[in-house]
């Protein structure tokens, strides 16, 4: 049986890859910017590419902020990807301070381009990096259940989330001694800083698992 999933279309970026990955894993995908369709979804994916402020602005101007928050309230599975995950936080600091959806307490801040040893850390963080489990966290029962620690996923970003509640952090990666929050999760709401739709087989497993939640 295919699983119905709605991808929020708010005029940002290329949503084709996300849709294809969902379809590939058995999702019955609807791409929509209609508040009613979003409220009716079984699974919701909030993608995001570009700058935090621009994404939140577009979401609000299309009257989609409230429908997304209402959907989350229903307890159905919600996945934010990249800036879609970042928008779930209180505040984003990219090009000034911008209000996020406030699902996860915390801020989205610039990755520090200076290393402790004085060297430079290239921004953006582009490429594959290995997922690590924070102390005390387990992936069982989450979208990362089918993933082994150390498996690699694909990142492209310059800003990174800082969680106020450590228990929200599902996975991290080490970007040249800078800890990047790679995935967050609480109850039915999940987010990945990486791109599961661009992370080969590992990413597809995560997509499949999300659809099965």
């Amino acid at each position: 049986m295919s699983k119905r999933v709605t991808v929020v279309d708010y005029g940002i970026g290329n949503l084709l890859s996300v849709c294809r990955a969902l379809t590939h894993e058995g999702g019955d995908v609807t791409l929509s910017g209609d508040p009613e369709v979003i409220r009716q979804a079984d699974h919701l994916v909030v993608p995001g590419v570009g700058a935090f402020g621009q994404c939140t602005l577009e979401l609000a101007s299309r009257h989609l902020r409230e429908p997304v928050l209402e959907f989350i309230q229903t307890g159905r599975p919600t996945l934010g990807i990249c800036v879609g995950m970042q928008m779930m936080f209180d505040i984003g600091e990219e090009f000034g301070e911008h209000q996020g959806l406030g699902v996860f307490p915390g801020r989205v801040v610039a990755i520090d381009p200076r290393k402790a040893d004085g060297g430079r850390r290239k921004i953006p963080h582009i490429g594959w990096n290995r997922l690590q489990v924070p102390n005390g966290r387990v992936w069982e029962g989450t979208m990362l259940a089918p993933v082994q620690p150390g498996e690699s996923v694909y990142f492209v970003h310059s800003f990174s989330a800082r969680c106020e509640r450590p228990e929200d952090v599902l996975a991290t990666v080490d970007y040249e001694d800078y800890e990047v929050v790679a995935a967050v999760g609480r109850d039915n709401v999940m987010g990945t800083q990486f791109h599961p739709e661009k992370s080969g087989d590992v990413g597809l497993r995560i997509v499949r698992q999300f659809l099965s939640l």
């Binding site: 590939h24 990096n129 080969g200 087989d201």
Partner: protein, 254 residues
């Protein structure tokens, strides 16, 4: 640990995957390019780079169909270049499923094109591609149209301007080394990686695993492109990954 991205570069002419020497003298390689791309993705290459190497002769962007067919089965980043002259071309490429575009000729002719792409689609989609040819006096000059057209721009000067204008990544292809399998142009790699603070992809000349050691030791490269050795199955992706890891660079688990 610092990562190293391993990029499979597929030069395209019409419906064919081709391979040349010094970006010329083209030879067709049997099989659909999208099948090669899928094979590389599954074998653990990190990204796919398609270059339409005749497109700029015709002022067209012609790889939409190929990209569309590719991304049905390839779930790693795909970059497409060759013949992208307008924002509409870039939009077509992204809407076909490409994650990034590589731009050379159009950017060097009209540098504002870089800002236009970056502001419309974000810097993360834009790879500025440079074809570099070593000069008798030791410097490097930029060429376009697969090494045919001379621009008079000095390479370092141009990549620095391109980055200032909003290039997200820089792809540097050595025309001298390309297709020779004699190794990368190490001096070029060193100059460009030292000159800009954006990710740099080095292309042209890889023939054996020792060439990876040489370029990593000499230059702080972010990514390396492979063509010939993959298409003729001379070096396996797994062997490249292992060598990169043994050199202290992080590669993905496959």
């Amino acid at each position: 640990m610092r990562n190293l991205r391993l990029i499979a570069r597929l030069d395209i002419k019409g419906p064919h995957l081709i391979k040349g020497v010094h970006l010329e003298g083209l030879r067709k390689i049997a099989g659909a390019p999208e099948d090669w791309a899928r094979r590389y993705a599954e074998a653990g290459m990190d990204e796919i780079l398609y270059m339409d190497i005749v497109a700029s002769l015709y002022d067209r962007f012609s790889l939409s169909d190929l990209v569309r067919k590719t991304v049905d089965n390839v779930f790693i980043p795909v970059t497409v270049g060759g013949g992208l002259r307008t924002l509409e071309h870039v939009r077509q490429a992204l809407q076909s499923g490409a994650d990034k575009v590589a731009v050379n000729t159009a950017a060097i002719r009209r540098p504002e094109f870089i800002e236009e792409i970056a502001s419309e689609f974000g810097q993360q989609v834009l790879m500025v591609s440079v074809e570099a040819k070593r000069q008798p006096n030791g410097g490097y000059l930029c060429f376009t149209d697969n090494g045919r057209e001379h621009t008079g721009r000095e390479v370092l000067d141009w990549v620095q301007e391109a980055v200032e204008r909003g290039a997200g990544e820089v792809l540097v292809t050595s025309i001298d080394q390309e297709g020779t399998q004699r190794g990368f142009d190490l001096e070029l790699a060193e100059k460009v990686t030292q000159g800009v603070d954006r990710p740099v992809i080095i292309s042209g000349g890889f023939g054996q695993l020792d060439h990876l050691d040489a370029v990593i030791e000499r230059a702080d490269v972010d990514a390396v492109a492979f063509a010939h050795v993959l298409h003729y199955e001379r070096v396996a992706p797994a062997a490249i990954r292992e060598r990169a890891a043994s050199l202290g660079r992080m590669v993905r688990e496959v």
